[in-house]
Structures are given as C-alpha cells and as structure tokens.
Symmetry: C2
DNA sequence: GTGAAAGCGCTAACAC
DNA sequence: GTGTTAGCGCTTTCAC
C-alpha cells in the first residue's frame, strides 16, 4: 500500500524502493530530489544553490522536482557544514515584561530580516536556570547572544561561554567593561521632561519617583536637578519624593506635596503609574491639570497615558529602537566587528494634554 | 596551506598539530577529546554518553579531558543523526502582548524542563511574514509548532507544513476540526462572575463589554445570560452594553446606565479596563462600591485590579496553566500521541473589595 | 574493552 | 556541464 508518487522502473523488493523510502522517512532530502530529477546529488545542490555551470534544462528540472516534492534544505545539515547556525539566543531575566517586550520584538524583527532565528529563554533571575539555558544554547551553536533584564542593577557578566561568542546586553548592564550594554538615557529623558515644564513657564517643579535602588531613579534625579539648574530654578526642599512604582504612591505623594506651604505648579513623575495616581489625586482635590499643575510621566505606556484624564504627557524610552540597535550591533559583531562599553540612547518627549 | 587536521604522523608542518587546530577552529569536537584522551572517537562517544562496555579508567579519562577542554556536544550534529532537533517554534500574531505573554512564558518553561528550546517568531498578522517564519522553522526541522494570537476569530490553519508536524493552537483557534486549539472558557468565566454577584444578593446585574466581533464577547454574553437565568434574575432592557475595550467606555457606560429609571446594583465588565472606568465614574458620582453597586472585571490584570479603588474583583483566565498545558499537549503529540478539537479551560474568580 | 567505518543531509573541491 | 568525493560532528553497528 501507500506507495507514493514517482519512479520509473523498480524490480521486486518494494520495501526499499526509493518511493518507499520517501513515504516512510521524514522530509525529502536532496538525495530524493537528485534521484527524481535523474542527476547526481552534487548537480542537484548546484541547481538549488544557483551556483556553477549547469544547463538550463537540468537546473529547471531539478528545481521543478524540488518544488513538487516540497523539498526544503535541512538547515541543521547546512549549519554543520558552515559552522554557523544562523541562530541566536536571548536570555531574559524580566520574564519578558512590559519593558523587555518591545525590545525583544524589534530585535527579532531585525534578525528575521537576515534570516536569523531567535531562541527565547527566560531565566527569571535564577542563576541556575540561566546557566542551564546558556548550556543548551551553546550546544545549539548559537552565533550570538542577547541578555535582557530589569535594569535595577549591574549584573555579573554571563559566562563562561564559548570564546568569542558575541554578546549584547540590552536594558541590562554587565559589570564588565569589555561588554556592550545598550540602555536608555534616563538622565537625558529627565532633562527633556523638566526642560519642557520650565519652557511652559513652571517654576516649582517637583519630582515624584520610585525606589532609589534603581539606577534609573538615581539617573533621572540627576537629570531633574541638572535641568532645574539649567533653567535657573531652585531645588525646593521636600519637592523630591522617592517611593514605589505605583498609582497609590502617586496619590500619596500629592497629598504630601499639598500639605506644605509651598506648592508645586508641576510634577515630573518617575513613571506613568505614579503620574496617573498624581493626576487622580489632583482632580479629586479640585486642582486643575494642566491649569494649576502640569504633569509629565515616564515610560509612555499607552494603557496609562491614554486612559488618564487628561491624557498624560510622557517620556518615551524608544525601546523598539533600542531593540533594533541591539540587533544591528549583534549582527555586526557576528560579522567580526568589535563593540563594547555602556551606550545610552536618547529618550523622547511625547506631549499630551497634561502639560 | 590550510591542510586540515588529522593523521597520526605527519612530518614537519606544525600548522596542523592538534593544539594548533584547537586554537584556531571553533568549539572543541569529540575528535579533539578522543585525540587528547588517546582513544578512538567511538570510544570517546561511548564514554560521554555513559553507554557500552568501557573500563572505568578510560571512561574517566575521557570525561576529564572533555571537562578540561570545555567540550560540549554539538546539538546540530546530534539532531542530524537523530532526526529530532529538540526544538520547537512558536508563531505569534499578537506580537506577544499582555495575553500571549504568560502563555508563552509557561510554555517555554515547560519545554525547557524537557531540554527543548523554543524559537520565537512574531508574525503580527501578516500572512507573508508568517509564511516566511514557517519556512525558516521547517528548515530548522522543528519537532513541533505552537500558534498563538489574539482570539478575535478563527484563523485559517497554518500551512502547508511538513506532514505530521504536531501543531497546537493556543489562545487561537484554527478553522480545522483536526487541529488542537486550547482556549479559556469565556462562557464559564462569565457564569462565575455573575453567579458570584447573584450570590451576594445582587438582583440587577448589568454587563458592559467590548466589541461583538470578538468571539470572547459573544461567549461571555451567553454566560451572563445563562447565569442570570440560573439565578432566576431577569434580563433587563438596556443592561447589556457592547462598546470598546477602554476605561473611557467604562465611564461612558456608567453614565448610560444611570440615565435610566432602573439602575443596576452590580456590573459585570468585559475586561478590567472597562471595570476600572466604571469604578471611577461611580466614585465620582458618589455611588458607593461595593455598597450600592458591585463590580467584577475580567482578565485579572494586576496593573488594573490593584490600582483600582477599591481593588477590583476579577476573572482570571489562568493563562499560565493554559501555556503549560499547551506544552504538555505538544510534547505528547511529538511522542506520537493524537489530540484534536477545541478545548476550553476553566477561568477562576479572584475576589477583591469591589464586590 | 576498544577501534574502524558507515551514515545523518548538505556543500564544495576536483575530476572527467 | 555533470559526477564523484571528502568532509562538517556525532552515534552506532560490527569487527577484533
């Protein structure tokens, strides 16, 4: 039964006739193509790879057969030969949260353009799992590696790994000067926000932000202070408030700010959730936004910015661009280029009605 | 030049000594291990794979050498031999959003347990890109495929693909009875919500939800009506409102509901954003939640449920469990098991202060 | 107990 | 123009 298509003349033994083999085994191989096209394997390969000197007829015949039987070269075999897998790995410690996601997506898109596939591994901050994933990836002979995380801290460099394996850290910082780390410019983002508020004539600008153990919080604070100085505005006592990354903290912070004599006419918030909490608290207090107080958030997370009343001005970290650049850098390193150091990429300001 | 490796005795030419080769070429191979351990390749393989009859000494010696030079078997070569790549692909059309993410994460975790790596591909609803990714994956001889999406509609089955390639659709539904689709039980989730409200003594339960072109919306509506009937409650005219998935619509819907004579004492919302909008509108109206009106959302998205005032009761689709089951099913199918049909998995109710 | 050799699917160098 | 062949790194059967 089930003797599939093809074959000219075949004596007796059906069990190992070519057709049988085709029917039983997995995907068709170049051998199958060659047999059916009545050429040698080498010739078939030449035809399929558009190489060498070949009569038009042979070439077309081979290609036709290949198409007919649905031949698709086995990448594993090709990789073995080329010593390049056209595959990279990405290890995340943020379990691919809201921030890593746009990055990974853009990265994958960039690499797909070059025909490079991406292995996705989630280590969730467990060094053992990270080690295990890395091992697996090295076994698969990946051509490069991307490491992503929450940004909180510098992380120990991943390793040990195959000598010369290109690695890019993105939204993550390796504690190793020889490594390449790609990050958003938090300080510059803060400057953008505060300069914008100052340009709108605000004189009393507060900063409500997250926990100081985040490097981003410290950098944004630096930017906030630098921009105040640049605009000739004073730093007012009690106008810098560090808390947690929640709406509740945003509401609480507004209560704190308004229990003082000197009140802000603008608040730069460390993220959009804090900003939204602040916005809600002000509205409920009867304080007009942006009339009395202008608000700027950070992250430009549409779920927050668009649902806020009024819609929230925010700083965008351009994560997709960051992901794309990570892809570019990795490709370049795979091609032999050198790259290292901490690189920070500009944020941008997205103005909406809250400022 | 470039006279490659091998061969026991070879005069002069230092350029192809074993050490040289080791230094120049890529990762160490089993050949290197064998040479340095002074055994044949076959023996080395046996030692490394804990197989066959081998003297303890030889075995240990081989393992020691392997460890020393950092030998790691080349998975590509193994795969070629085994005709199994221990690799699967996942194609997403939701660009890995909030819903697909927990699923993919759990899936990856489950597969990692079995030493199977996951290729991540984002097709973003572009059939051409989907086709292209699929091609690449087939070339890489994946052992299985997972397809994910927004749930809006049934999608055409992916293909054509290698005969017998196991495929699981999760949070996505293939228009093909022979395929396996894993989905949350939207109808059951709605029943859970409404029964909960009824059990709390609510008699006038409204349902504010998203666009009807989502199958989930239609199913939840069915559940809503079934649960009302079950509790002996009437369906009140104008108490079912379909709109969009936003907070703004939640606020607007409350305005609509309260412009009528008959007012609800509970609202079951189609997602947490709508619920949150409703909550805000009620608070601003001075209507007490849950005193006067109880609210239940859908999705159990912490960003919404925890920031809401009061915290929001919601239906959880148990997406991680769904992802894990997708992994289990795929593994089973790879092992030869058969599986098909549309399977819906239960949601659960997470009670918080809004109800 | 150990080694030699065939073969997984493919490419590239070299014959003819 | 086309065929033959030697590997890529690994496993496995079969001699010895």
């Amino acid at each position: 039964m089930a003797r599939s298509n093809n074959m000219q003349d075949d004596a007796a033994t059906p069990s190992d006739s070519p057709s049988q083999r085709l029917a039983v085994a997995g995907p068709p191989t170049i051998r199958d193509v060659a047999r059916l096209a009545n050429v040698s394997i080498g010739t078939a390969s030449k035809a399929l790879n558009a190489g060498g000197r070949l009569s038009k007829e042979t070439r077309e015949n081979v290609l036709r057969v290949a198409r007919e039987i649905g031949y698709r070269p086995n990448d594993l075999a090709q990789s073995l030969h080329r010593a390049k897998s056209r595959t990279i790995g990405i290890i995340s410690n943020d379990s691919f949260g809201r921030f890593t996601f746009p990055i990974v997506e853009a990265l994958e898109e960039r690499l797909a353009e070059e025909g490079i596939a991406v292995f996705m591994c989630n280590a969730t901050d467990d060094p053992a799992r990270e080690r295990q994933h890395l091992d697996q990836l090295l076994g698969k002979r990946i051509d490069g590696l991307v490491v992503t995380a929450r940004r909180a801290d510098k992380r120990p460099p991943i390793g040990p790994l195959a000598h010369g394996l290109p690695v890019v850290y993105v939204f993550s910082q390796a504690d190793d000067p020889g490594a390449l780390s790609l990050l958003p410019d938090d300080e510059g983002g803060a400057v953008l926000a505060v300069a914008h508020l100052a340009a709108r004539g605000r004189k009393h600008i507060a900063h409500v932000t997250g926990p100081e153990h985040f490097e981003a919080v410290r950098l944004r604070k630096t930017g906030y202070r630098a921009a105040l100085a640049e605009a000739g505005l004073p730093e007012i006592d009690g106008f810098y408030l560090s808390g947690v990354w929640s709406e509740a903290w945003g509401r609480e912070a507004v209560a704190k700010l308004f229990s003082r004599r000197e009140r802000p006419d603008a608040i730069f918030c460390g993220n959009d959730q804090i900003a939204r909490g602040a916005l809600d608290a002000l509205r409920e207090k009867g304080v007009s936004v942006p009339g009395d107080v202008a608000i700027v958030g950070f992250d430009n997370w549409d779920v927050m910015t668009l649902a806020a009343r009024p819609p929230l001005t925010s700083i965008d970290m351009n994560l997709k661009a960051l992901g794309r650049e990570a892809g570019d850098s990795l490709l370049d390193m795979i091609a032999g280029g050198a790259n290292s150091g901490v690189k920070r990429r500009p944020c941008s300001l997205v103005v909406r009605e809250s400022s």
